[in-house]
Symmetry: C2
Subunit: 136 residues, 2 copies
């Protein structure tokens, strides 16, 4: 396998963690949806449960804006389960714990697992294909 | 990107189609679960909706045996939406139409989308990571 185009895996993992933190802290915590410019590639695709595939970062931003707002989500803590290099890309298996806090209700947590196909774009490691589902 | 280790994409796609057909015709059509030896890598992982991740081909075979039997599933027609090379691997976005025919009920079809991380093993192109969810 060619890994000549990739920096050491430890460095990639650190940069992936930075992207994953942005998703939690900026998108979910601060509802700063423009942070998604640094999380998804321009022509990324997401495959959400219960809906058809969505293509393109602008449409993906609309999806997350609606989802975070309507679900009263306040955090999405992501953790990598496995990170596999493939050429100049990376495939990650991960788990996410979503916290939702609807007004007048107690906070609830949902466990989600996901697979992300990562690519480097504009010096950021970003999600190029993103699919997830619930454990329950 | 290095594709030197890979044959032409058209050839890979043809071999992927062969694997996908096995899943439909042998696993779902004939309930020949040993065909899964030619579909999943030995250390494959699946991420099914509504259940935790399952690792290893033997456990994956048990999963599909239970799923196909209990759901009275008779076919799983897979079609590639996009096939992306990455080093010596391939990432596929696809859609599946599942047909279930419970005794005494009319047949129903379910639409599913998926992402598969493919690797070559023992001269077959196989599913190394397999995750899916429903469109509805």
């Amino acid at each position: 396998m060619n890994t000549a185009t990739l920096p050491p895996l430890a460095e990639i993992k650190a940069r992936m963690a930075k992207t994953n933190d942005l998703f939690n802290v900026e998108v979910f915590g601060r509802r700063n949806f423009d942070a998604l410019d640094h999380i998804y590639t321009a022509d990324a695709r997401i495959l959400p449960p219960g809906a058809p595939m969505i293509a393109g970062r602008q449409s993906i931003k609309e999806f997350w804006k609606g989802m975070v707002t309507s679900a009263h989500a306040t955090s999405a803590a992501l953790s990598s389960v496995d990170v596999m290099e493939a050429g100049d890309a990376v495939i990650e298996i991960g788990r996410a714990v979503l916290t939702v806090e609807p007004p007048g209700e107690s906070a609830a947590q949902l466990e989600v697992k996901y697979v992300v196909f990562w690519r480097e774009e504009d010096s950021d490691w970003k999600w190029h294909v993103d699919i997830w589902n619930s454990n329950s």
